[in-house]
């Protein structure tokens, strides 16, 4: 707080007053300041300088000092209140705050006190720097980016010397075999990546990824069971307008053997029942059973599981990208980015009257892949 902080003194007696008061009648006088030779010895910028209130009036400076002190004191108080809130408020206490809704009171107190405690330290520090620390504009020149010719020559010389000393140019066979070794060593890693699809299921051993993606666990005669409760279904169980998420009956055994959920993901289906007269795409015998239709649950766009079925419009909507399929029309896409219709599973009933798959899907389920064509 002394006149030491008055670097832009122009030598006139007034300029030696507190907090860098600059005398003079106009801009030109201030621009005539001599270079600042303080810490860092950077030259003062030749710009118009407006002194701060705290530079001009000692009273203003003291007010800022009080202000900053108050911030730090409040921060201390917040730390104390944090501890008080932690000890005194029961964890379960809830209070209602407009906008936020029902809030845990202790959560609120801890958050507000700690947040304010940290914020006030920062705000005080910044206020200190802005209002009371030296207020000068300085200039730092840019350096030219290119290296000097001497540096260029030195670098070229070092490169040349390294080439000669290592013999990289002289030993031709050694150089070429090194390049060959470097080219081959990543290939084992690529071979490992190729085997990433292989799973523990012996039934899938030897199949290419495209083959594995093209078939599911469904086979003709396999019963359809509800997802979650694994109950077999009779046609009468599903009312018109009904929706059932379903899986093949042996899915749990497959999962246990394969140690993964791949088959569950591929063979998940939904069963819907509509008035047979509503079905517009009559695909012929074996595709529906008395108005019950089975479709894959996996979106043909990027594979989100979907069961967002509107039973009056027969639309199936994918929540991920809004692809919409018309289940009354063979699962055709009527909106959205999906390029292929929803694969349908042909169904029938077995001798005991339970719903079964008539065969596997006649096309791969889920998103497209390279070999699918």
């Amino acid at each position: 707080m002394s006149s030491d902080l008055t670097p832009r003194s122009d030598g006139s007696p007034e300029a030696t007053g507190a907090h860098g008061v600059v005398s003079g009648s106009g801009v030109n006088d201030r621009l005539a300041r001599p270079d600042y030779a303080g810490p860092g010895a950077l030259p003062l910028a030749a710009v118009d300088h407006t002194p701060r209130r705290s530079d001009l009036y000692p009273k203003a400076a003291r007010r800022v000092e009080r202000q900053i002190t108050l911030m730090f004191l409040l921060s201390m108080l917040m730390a104390v209140l944090f501890i008080v809130g932690y000890v005194a408020i029961d964890v379960g206490t809830e209070i209602y705050i407009p906008v936020l809704g029902g809030v845990g009171f202790q959560n609120l107190v801890l958050g507000v006190t700690f947040g304010l405690g940290v914020f006030l330290i920062g705000a005080g520090a910044i206020q200190w720097a802005k209002k009371l620390m030296p207020d000068v504009e300085v200039v730092q020149d840019r350096h030219p980016l290119p290296s000097t010719p001497t540096e260029d020559a030195k670098a070229a010389e070092q490169y040349q010397r390294g080439k000669e000393e290592s013999g990289f140019a002289a030993y031709r066979i050694m150089r070429r075999t090194l390049i060959g070794a470097l080219a081959l060593f990543p290939i084992p890693l690529v071979v490992l990546v190729r085997d990433m699809w292989t799973n523990d299921d012996p039934a899938l051993a030897g199949q290419s990824p495209a083959e594995i993606l093209s078939s599911t666990a469904w086979t003709g005669g396999l019963r359809i069971v509800t997802d979650g409760t694994f109950q077999p279904l009779r046609p009468a169980d599903i009312p018109v307008g009904g929706l059932v998420s379903a899986l093949p009956e042996n899915i749990e055994e497959i999962q246990k053997e394969a140690h993964n959920l791949n088959e569950r993901g591929k063979s998940a289906i939904i069963l819907v029942r509509m008035d047979p007269e509503d079905i517009r795409a009559q695909q012929g015998e074996g595709w529906d059973y008395q108005g019950i239709l089975a479709y894959s649950k996996i979106c043909t766009h990027v594979g989100c599981p979907i069961a967002l079925y509107e039973h009056r419009t027969h639309h199936l909507l994918c929540p991920c990208h809004q692809s919409t399929f018309d289940l009354a029309d063979a699962g055709n896409v009527i909106f959205g980015p999906a390029a292929r219709s929803m694969p349908q599973l042909p169904i029938g009933v077995d001798e005991e009257g339970f719903l079964v798959a008539a065969s596997d899907f006649n096309q791969p389920v889920g998103p497209s892949f390279w070999e699918r064509g």
Partner: protein, 263 residues
Amino acid sequence: MKALAAHRRHPIMGLVLLLLALGVVGGVYGVATTAPSSADTALVGDQTQIEEGRRLYLEGCSSCHGLNAEGGSAGPTLIGVGAAAVHFQVATGRMPLAAPGAQAPVKDAIYTSEETLQMAAYIASLAPGPAIPTAEQIDYTDADIAEGGVLFRINCAQCHQAAGQGGALTQGKYAPSLMSATPQEIYEAMLTGPQNMPIFADTTLPTPDKQAIIAYVVDLQQAPSPGGLSLGRLGPVVEGLFLWTAVFAALIGAAVWIGMRAR
């Protein structure tokens, strides 16, 4: 309190107190009698009730659903929808419809619970359909919440969102939030498939499974939000949006203040 005390001998205070007392008594009576009990459902089928229901139906519903509930261009047939469908639609205020739209919104119920049950009895007398679930059917006290969560995620979450907050369907339709749905309404909705919701019949989703789902939804409804501002419990997308807008705006404000020239 001082102002209140000064006015307590004012002549109008007697009237005010009387009205207040009447309001409290009436309100308590209304709350106490709104919840339909199993005793109410047992009354469905009573002949006078059916006749009264038919009268109410002809007054309030027949313009769209037809004089004999056969349906028309403005509304579907109600033959065979059952008492549960009537109770769900009328008790939640979805019916009668105030205006045609993509979907019937929830509003304050127009009919009393007695009138609702009378209409339900009338519709149920036309053709067999799902009955209003009994108190035992919707009793979820012994149900497994975890199992209900699994079933909810398999059967319900695709439309109603994993935390039951609801979501958009096609062309202006939507799956409503379940945060204010009663156990009876949840059961009836699964049973009857209102609007575009598919039917989850007792044959494919038996009563114990429905009870588990109800227990899970009730648990979601009661779940506390200690941090407040749950942002609809819609998950990381909404939270990210909040961060990128409100919080970043605050941070930018702080940065601007730091960079501002001191005066």
